[in-house]
């Protein structure tokens, strides 16, 4: 596999642990297919990006919920989300 080490590194960064080695093989095959982009001849192409001016965005205002959304979580204590220890 051409990209095995890099795939393993990226998987770790993405917090993915894989037991099935065929996953690595298929990702490697997919990346191999993406190499077709090299022959697209788009180096000089400019990317078109759709911009939405900030004035067009809706107001970022707090809307109180009439429900206790926190209760929909699996793990919470009082009004706090409960997470595993970091250290």
């Amino acid at each position: 596999m051409e990209y095995q080490k890099e795939i393993e590194h990226v998987a770790k960064l993405m917090r993915i642990e894989i037991d099935d080695p065929t996953i690595y093989e298929s990702v490697d095959k997919m990346i191999g297919y993406f190499n077709i982009l090299d022959s697209a001849g788009v180096e000089s192409e400019e990317m078109t990006i759709k911009e939405i001016p900030i004035t067009k965005l809706r107001e970022d205002k707090y809307i109180p919920s009439n429900e206790k959304l926190i209760e929909k979580l699996n793990h919470y204590k009082g009004t706090y989300l409960r997470a595993p220890k970091m250290i």
Binding site: L37, M47, P84
Partner: protein, 481 residues
């Protein structure tokens, strides 16, 4: 009770008192019980559907105001939030997730008195084109249950095709509405990007995905579009369609319209019966007065690679939120360190989602972004430029929706690149934001073939008119189930 009627016929019949919403919904729920053990279109059912229909009948009887759907049974892809119902994305990761709010499309359909009979199957997080990647097992094609129904909105297409509802909502990121529509012989509509709000659609690749209807007829697709399209302050990418009536003048015909035949979509790898159906559809359009000519969009060759590069990147970011803390399944946090907990929790993702998350980390990463992600964005730009040029000459573009016939369950599941390439004809509309429709057109060996029409942005009305004209030339058999 005839369950095989169109959405428009249903609303007309209930409104006039020919049928009651309650009776129709009851029979629909019975039909689901009878056929869905085989087809597996539904992931969950609405147990209150009959009661809701009864309320609508009461409103009609009391001459109260009733919405335009008159209790029409609609199925909803399970990546669209319906308040207080499970929304699993066909993933074990969201096995017990109850949506705390309605998607905008759901709010709009509720206002029009649609009845949601249930949530339907998909490839996990809409990543796939066969529903084989659903964590709850694949749906089956009602035309031949040994075959895939297409995807990712496979459950939507099956439920419409097998008369388990009158219409459905799916989502289309790279053909996920049109592909199953083609494989199951229903109409599948992907609107202009921004025409329908994505608020409440669980995100996969925000920059290109759209919610779209799957229906029995083109008129029904126009009807659904009338109900759900338009600006939404909760989705800043929505566009103002000035309350366009897509049903009005749908029978205008296509005389004098110029139709481009996309050369790259009828080339290498196409099934002979699909090619033959496409040529036949082109002849019919010509007989209806359209002028058809071949056109080349050479970036189509790179569109699949660009599409998967861009969508994987967006998926990698969107799915980072699934750490099992904010959303997730029952898995206690005690005894775990933070990172190891999240890694362990994310093992609930299925193989296709796992692959795409890894890809989504790889292709935009330092050292690779220039080779993959940035190049994919440039292909997207060039393809958009090419298609915009094409629409200076043509009103519409045509191709088969999918270059092959539906395939057997399990036949391609171990070859992800072969699966990718099935998207070759559908991803262009997503990458360029154009509206596109799949129209049931013919059959080969008992399996359906759909024809795709694409129009320029905001020409959804013209697209529906052309699709309607083509649909009227077709007479197809009924499903065997």
């Amino acid at each position: 009770m005839n369950l095989k009627i169109s959405a428009l016929q249903f609303t007309k019949d209930v409104k006039s008192g020919n049928i009651s919403a309650e009776e129709f919904i009851s029979k629909t729920m019975e039909r689901i019980q009878n056929v869905d053990t085989i087809l597996h279109a539904f992931l969950s059912l609405n147990n209150n559907a009959v009661d809701q229909a009864r309320e609508i009948d009461k409103k009609i009887k009391n001459r109260e105001k009733v919405g335009q759907c008159f209790g029409m049974p609609v199925s909803i892809k399970d990546n669209i939030c319906v308040k207080d119902t499970k929304t699993t994305c066909a993933s074990k990761m969201l096995e017990n997730f109850i949506a705390p709010y309605d998607a905008t499309v759901i709010t709009k359909l509720k206002q029009q008195d649609a009845i949601f009979v249930g949530k339907v199957n998909l490839d996990e997080f809409a990543m796939g084109l066969s529903t084989e990647f659903s964590a709850y097992g694949p749906s089956k094609n009602p035309w031949n249950t040994g075959y895939v129904p297409g995807g990712s909105s496979g459950g939507s297409a099956v439920s419409v095709s097998a008369f388990e509802c009158v219409a459905s909502l799916g989502s289309d990121t790279g053909g996920s509405v049109r592909n199953p529509a083609s494989f199951c012989s229903t109409v599948g509509y992907k609107p202009t990007y921004g025409l329908i709000s994505r608020y409440g659609l669980i995100s996969y690749a925000n920059s290109i995905e759209q919610i779209g209807p799957l229906t029995r007829t083109v008129e029904d697709a126009a009807f659904m579009l009338n109900l759900i399209a338009g600006l939404d302050h909760n989705d800043d990418t929505t566009i103002n369609n000035n309350n366009e009536d897509y049903l009005k003048d749908i029978d205008s015909g296509i005389e004098g319209k110029k139709v481009g035949i996309i050369k790259e979509m009828i080339g290498e790898g196409i099934d002979p019966s699909v090619l033959s159906a496409t040529k036949d559809a082109i002849s019919k359009l010509e007989r209806l007065g359209a002028i058809c000519e071949e056109i080349s969009l050479d970036m189509v060759k790179y569109s699949v690679a660009a599409y998967y590069t861009i969508t994987a990147t967006e998926a990698g970011s969107n799915l980072a939120r699934y750490d099992n803390l904010r959303y997730g399944y029952d898995f206690p946090v005690e005894g775990y360190e933070f990172n190891s907990y999240i890694v362990k929790a994310r093992k609930k993702f299925g193989p296709e989602v796992t692959r795409r998350i890894i890809l989504g980390g790889f292709v935009p990463s330092a050292g690779h972004a220039g080779k993959y992600f940035l190049k994919a964005l440039k292909v997207k730009s060039k393809l958009t430029r090419q298609i915009n040029e094409a629409f200076k000459k043509f009103d519409l573009l045509i191709s088969p929706t999918v270059p092959i016939l539906p395939f057997k369950i399990g036949e391609k599941i171990n070859d992800p690149v072969a699966l990718f390439l099935i998207d070759i004809n559908t991803v262009t509309a997503n990458l360029t934001g154009k509206p596109a429709i799949s129209i049931p057109y013919s059959m080969s060996n008992g399996l359906p073939i759909g024809i795709q029409l694409i129009a320029n942005s905001m020409n959804d009305k013209l697209l529906l008119q052309a699709a309607y004209a083509l649909e009227k030339t077709v007479k197809l058999p009924e499903i065997p189930i």
